[in-house]
Symmetry: C2
Subunit: 227 residues, 2 copies
DNA sequence: CCAAAAGTGTTCCTAGTACACCCATGG
DNA sequence: CCATGGGTGTACTAGGAACACTTTTGG
């Protein structure tokens, strides 16, 4: 397998971008601006450049369309079928990202023709992007079960009803209010604030903050996150 | 992002090949035959050809070095750092495979300079292949926990002590004999044979066979494999 | 007859699940 | 004062974990 004689390929990255707003899981997708399939709905993506790692490419693509940096992003997998892209043979490395919608640059996203859509409103997507979405959802569920990544989708300060609502969306099933509280508070990784969120009830719900340092410390001592 | 102006890359596949023999998890690795790092230990790999999917490339590479087809193989992930291969910028898609060592073509493997080594005997590997191995082991553990893939590493007929030994290797911890039996037999997915394996004891251990059809049927009715 | 591995049940405890009422407050 | 969502405790059950002795048989 000499390097010189091996064929070269177009390599792209595609980002499955999740957000959480109005109690719903949402996905950031764009109207494609190039042929083929111009105008069709698609994940945000782009080609991997020379001297650029695939991780860097994904970060760049995300930054260019959302204006956001420093967010949670993880590789999903590589999609390598020959015919997957009808324009050319393109190998795509998919990443999924979790974004706090409130903190991201909506104006920049709109300039790129990007839109946040609820999961049940997702139209047909190009190529194998629907497959990517399903794979990403499955991965998100698995990952969220044992890792505290849900907080990446919420504002820094959040209430327990909000958090529970998020997990109900991720798992697509109702969670018992009392059991959920018991479980999450028992881990002792949330900091209770003196503020209340009165936007959804008259009584108001206490706000909490995820204490990452505490979580890391407890993890060293055997804590296993599970929700 | 026009297709024409995008750069092209060398894309390789690397296979992390697991086997189980003499009660130990083993890895099939080769002595590299091309520069750079000629003679160093490496996973089996090769370049993705035109008109060949990455899955097909992995299958081909595996077949060429082991002579085996129709084995369990799954994508691990894509490794895309710019400097990961010191010979050129190569993007690698890693796969992990599970092989019944007894059924594979040792002669063919030897011709390719391939060797089965126990996990604790693995020498230094080139590039990021040690990272790949660690990632593959983590994935194997996760996957084996909830999917009946362990059987891919055993002969068609196996004893329960053998099976338990395999899981002890995968999880790197001892498993209680009685609890293990209870759990695996309760799933009712093993067919008990009239043969015994007398190679490891005078009393002999009953042989079993994984009943895949039964497993699939039970899965439809809500069975969740877990061990 | 004995060494060596195979095979077998029971108890305890933890963690998940199900479930209903009071509280605080803005309008 | 009442409608609305927030917050709280207990009882039951199932499943995981710990644990020791008997059986078989080749040498």
């Amino acid at each position: 397998m000499p390097y010189e004689s091996a064929p070269r390929h177009l390599v792209a990255v595609d980002c499955i971008i999740f957000g959480f707003e109005d109690g719903k899981l949402k996905l950031l997708i764009i109207k494609r601006k190039v042929a083929p399939m111009e105008g069709a709905w698609s994940m945000v993506g782009g080609f991997v450049q020379e001297g650029e790692s695939t991780n860097e490419a994904a970060t760049r693509v995300l930054q260019q369309t959302t204006g956001i940096q420093d967010i949670y992003m993880d590789q999903l997998m590589c999609y390598g079928d020959v015919e997957r892209d009808s324009g050319a043979r393109v190998i795509s490395v998919a990443y999924y990202a979790l974004i706090r919608i409130s903190e991201h640059d909506r104006i920049l996203a709109n300039q790129h023709g990007a839109h946040w859509l609820s999961l049940h409103q997702i139209p047909e997507l190009i190529f194998d992007h629907t497959q990517m979405l399903n794979d990403a959802l499955a991965r998100l569920r698995d990952k969220a079960h044992f890792h505290p990544i849900g907080f990446e989708l919420l504002p820094e300060k959040f209430s327990l009803p909000q958090l529970r609502n998020l997990y109900e969306e991720i798992y697509q099933r109702p969670l018992d209010k009392r059991n959920f509280r018991k479980k999450i508070l028992a881990m002792d990784i949330l900091e209770k604030l003196d503020e209340k969120d009165k936007s959804t009830s008259k009584k108001g719900a206490h706000l909490y903050r995820f204490d990452k340092k505490k979580y890391n410390a407890l993890t060293q001592h055997g804590l296993v996150f599970e929700i």
